[in-house]
């Protein structure tokens, strides 16, 4: 009898490590929040979609690789990150830095050459914001690190919008703000679950500094703010009824999850399974909200 295939660990390879440096699972959501706004902004050509997608992947991948270089002193401490190519000793730190800068440079050229200069500038701003403002400055100095740092992850819709229209306007700012205000409830759900890890690494995440109660309270208020904010583009004609109903229903489900964490925490009961569900659902929430935006504009 043979052992099940799933039990055999995959052998590490350079190609697999290079892909891992770009954090492909995280980028899939970033790509969705880049590409969906393109269909909200207009009817993009296949070439624009292709080059924006490739450029967006490379830029975000470059930022993630440079982030792994800068965090190499703490990645080996946390269970979540200790298997990354640098802490596990499979790749040299300088090689990771060079790879990150190289693909981000390639992304800037591709976007500037095949899409437009504004798109390249916005994508590069996202790279700099993530590397210097979030990773280098905020991450290890303030419990509000992911609040302001959330702006780094909010650049993709601006990139997608600019790729189609060549400008940034109020509607695109809303897409930016939706991701900005989605980040705290999303990331703090994970931070609540990984408090010990962040504590060991000395990263001042909100649950470690403010405590669970205050963090959960803020998750609730950020979720309410997000629901109100996501409804506002309807009022100046960017979206219609399909999007409005989707935003309220999807936001309502997220709110119910956060509310359940708060209720369980107040009673002193375990909220861990619910926090996991909220973390996973928040990913689905953002994906479905952006899909709803694209559908709404074309029905």
């Amino acid at each position: 009898m043979t052992a099940p295939a799933a039990a055999v660990p995959r052998e590490p390879s350079l190609a697999r490590d290079l892909i891992a440096l770009t954090k492909p699972r995280i980028i899939s959501l970033l790509l969705l929040t880049t590409l969906a706004p393109m269909f909200v902004a207009g009817t993009p050509s296949w070439a624009t979609i292709l080059w924006t997608g490739i450029g967006g992947y490379l830029m975000a991948g470059g930022a993630n690789a440079v982030n792994m270089y800068l965090d190499r002193d703490i990645d080996h401490v946390m269970a979540r990150t200790k298997l990354r190519p640098i802490p596990s000793g499979r790749m040299a730190a300088r090689a990771v830095l060079a790879f990150g800068i190289a693909i981000a440079t390639a992304a800037t050229w591709l976007l500037g050459h095949f899409v437009n200069v504004l798109t390249a500038a916005l994508a590069l701003s996202g790279f700099y914001f993530y590397v210097f403002v979030y990773t280098r400055w905020l991450k290890r100095t303030t419990p509000q690190n992911i609040v302001l740092g959330g702006a780094a992850g909010a650049f993709p819709p601006l990139v997608g919008w600019a790729a189609v229209t060549g400008r940034v306007d109020l509607a695109s700012l809303y897409l930016f703000l939706i991701i900005f205000y989605w980040t705290p409830p999303h990331f703090w759900a994970l931070a609540l679950l990984k408090q010990r890890d962040y504590g060991k690494a000395g990263v001042p995440m909100a649950p470690n500094i403010w405590g669970e109660h205050e963090t959960i309270d803020q998750m609730l208020w950020y979720t309410l703010l997000l629901i109100g904010l996501s409804a506002l583009p309807v009022t100046f004609g960017v979206f219609g009824m399909f999007y409005f109903v989707s935003a309220i229903v999807l936001g309502g489900i997220l709110l119910e999850g956060v509310w359940r964490i708060r209720r369980l925490a107040a009673r002193g009961e375990s909220w861990i399974p619910v926090a996991w569900k909220v973390y996973k659902y928040s990913l689905l929430y953002l994906a479905l909200l952006f899909v709803a935006m694209a559908i709404d504009r074309h029905i």
């Binding site: 303030t142 419990p143 509000q144 609040v147 302001l148 109020l170 700012l173 809303y174 703000l177 900005f180 909100a206 500094i209 403010w210 405590g211 205050e214 309270d217 803020q218 208020w221 950020y222 309410l224 703010l225 629901i227 109100g228 904010l229 409804a231 506002l232 309807v234 009022t235 100046f236 004609g237 409005f244």
Partner: protein
């Protein structure tokens, strides 16, 4: 639901939530017993998004007024065309 109702309900929800976030941040800063200078920086971090949000809300109000005017003009044009 009429658009002005959506507008003002959403703005109220956003405003109340933002005030509660600021209150919670101040409470958390006090409880963390951080030094005065650190508190000032944390306060600045909390206020920056509020300023951006205020600007966006003002722009939203203006855009919604223009949108309402446009809808009104379209409706009156349709009425004048109808037999």
């Amino acid at each position: 639901m009429p658009l002005p109702v959506v507008l003002w309900l959403s703005i109220a929800l956003v405003a109340v939530s933002q005030v509660m976030i600021l209150r919670s941040t101040v409470r958390a800063m006090r409880a963390a017993e951080s030094e005065q200078a650190r508190r000032g920086i944390e306060w600045a971090y909390a206020v920056v998004p509020v300023i951006v949000l205020l600007l966006v809300l003002v722009a939203t109000w203006q855009a919604s007024q223009e949108h309402a005017l446009r809808l009104g003009l379209e409706a009156s044009a349709n009425q004048s065309v109808a037999p």
